[in-house]
């Protein structure tokens, strides 16, 4: 769980940084996207790096969801009779929403890949290659729709929640939180990672919606 979670954290960090290229304009953004495809050539074939990343992510996804399901099953089997009254005294909301939040991210992930990678659907309607084969144009025409921006912002809220607890939880799972001061730092790390990543991702859709990027 922690290992696959960290793979995701590193991935979303780099992905978020890449998205911010949108602020440098169409040429820089598309060049970055193209560069990802030819990275490492001729040592790697075209799209070689992308495929390596995709395989690592897919393996991590299977491990992550598999562990999540196993944890959930064990928890269910352990408490067949529910409490009539149960109070949460110490846990964060983010820690208690890992399962639903993770499911939200999974559903979002499917739409996100259909939107930008596998099918390249332009939700605004125009499916001509001018738009769908131009990463920058596809992104702008998607986020020009208020409801697309909303879907992305909700997903980033879910991501922020998941990372807030996930970062802290992974540090604890790895055995690096053995004192009160280490715990305070691990909690701060959860906040920083959540705000930087979810906030960074949210900037681009907001900028498109408000016409800063067009």
């Amino acid at each position: 769980m922690a290992a696959s979670g960290i793979v995701f954290v590193l991935f979303v960090l780099v992905h978020m940084y890449g998205n911010l290229k949108a602020f440098s304009g169409e040429v820089a953004f598309n060049e970055y996207a193209h560069h990802l495809r030819i990275f490492g050539e001729p040592m790697l074939p075209e799209n070689g790096l992308l495929w390596i990343i995709r395989i690592v992510l897919l393996v991590s996804l299977v491990a992550h969801v598999g562990s999540a399901v196993a944890l959930m099953r064990r928890a269910r089997a352990q408490r067949p009779v529910k409490y009539q009254v149960k109070r949460n005294n110490a846990s964060s909301l983010s820690s208690r929403t890992m399962r639903w939040g993770g499911l939200t991210l999974f559903v979002f992930l499917i739409w996100h890949l259909l939107n930008f990678t596998i099918v390249k659907i332009n939700p605004a309607g125009d499916q001509s290659a001018d738009i769908t084969e131009n990463p920058y144009r596809l992104m702008v025409s998607s986020f020009d729709l208020w409801w697309m921006t909303l879907i992305y912002l909700v997903a980033m809220l879910a991501l922020g929640f998941h990372l807030h607890h996930g970062t802290y939880s992974a540090l604890q799972t790895l055995g690096w939180v053995n004192s009160a001061s280490a715990r305070a730092k691990a909690k701060i790390a959860g906040w920083v990672i959540a705000i930087v990543i979810a906030g960074g991702f949210s900037l681009v859709p907001l900028a498109v919606l408000f016409g800063v990027i067009d």
Binding site: A90, S95, H165, L174, G175, N178, A182
Partner: protein
């Protein structure tokens, strides 16, 4: 004061259970929670009804028998054991819901009494040090650094009550295990069996059916001895080291 008590009644481990409601008057705020239940039981016996079965032993906060979920909090609203909880923590007219620990690893024996033998089996799977019996060894022959000794002592205050499991949404016993791992792992006497201990205890924990820890933190808030989450991180660290070294 007068109270409305909603208590889980269950005739045996195989019988179905349910909440029964009782009105109880004449409760003094100086009574302990268990004395309040004693008062209820006296009334029930006088009326010819079956008294409520609940566990207790020392009644001084050191044995860990008095496991009760009180208004959704393990051992009630204060950070202490149920026997050390007093009725001044409640108000006249309160409704108090009392349930047993809910975990398939702690099956209900009767009413509010659960069987915590699973904890004993976890301890038997590594939570000890092997030593020759006979006369007690000379106390200063194995020196322990003071800070380590204090840290070990704090972890050793775990009384095995099971509140951590009861409070955890996953029903994990990681705090209980971590307390023992930290206690013995801090001391020179605990080193020879350190890594086989963690592997053995975790294997038994999982085999019993306790849930996996997702670092939610309800356990430490419910623990009457204030065992910190640090012990779970230490457990994970020892487990990782053990796995790397092929235990």
């Amino acid at each position: 004061m007068n109270l409305t008590l909603k208590i889980w009644r269950q005739a045996s481990s195989s019988a179905p259970g349910g909440i029964h409601t009782y009105q109880l008057g004449g409760v003094s705020e100086d009574m302990s929670f268990l004395e309040m239940l004693d008062l209820l039981n006296e009334e029930l016996v006088t009326k010819g009804e079956e008294p409520v079965a609940f566990d207790s032993d020392c009644r001084e906060g050191i044995c860990g028998m008095c496991s009760l979920m009180i208004n959704g909090q393990a051992h009630g609203p204060e950070v202490t054991t149920t026997c050390q909880l007093h009725m001044r923590s409640f108000k006249d007219g309160d409704t108090i819901t009392i349930e047993p620990w809910r975990a398939s690893t702690f099956p209900v024996i009767k009413d509010l009494i659960v069987d915590r033998s699973a904890f004993d089996r976890i301890i038997q799977s590594g939570g000890y040090i092997s030593a020759n019996t006979g006369s007690a060894p000379e106390a200063n022959s194995v020196p322990a650094p003071r800070d380590k000794a204090m840290h070990a002592f704090n972890a050793a205050t775990c009384i095995g009550c099971g509140a951590c499991v009861a409070a955890c949404p996953n029903g994990s016993a990681s705090l209980f295990m971590g307390a023992k791992i930290t206690h013995l792992g801090d001391l020179p006497q605990g080193q020879p069996e350190r890594y086989s201990r963690v592997v053995g205890m975790v294997a038994q924990h999982d085999h019993e059916g306790f849930g996996g820890c997702t670092n939610i933190g309800e356990c430490t808030a419910a623990c009457p001895k204030g065992i910190p989450l640090d012990v779970i991180s230490q457990l994970n660290k020892d487990l990782r080291t053990a796995m790397v070294h092929g235990f």
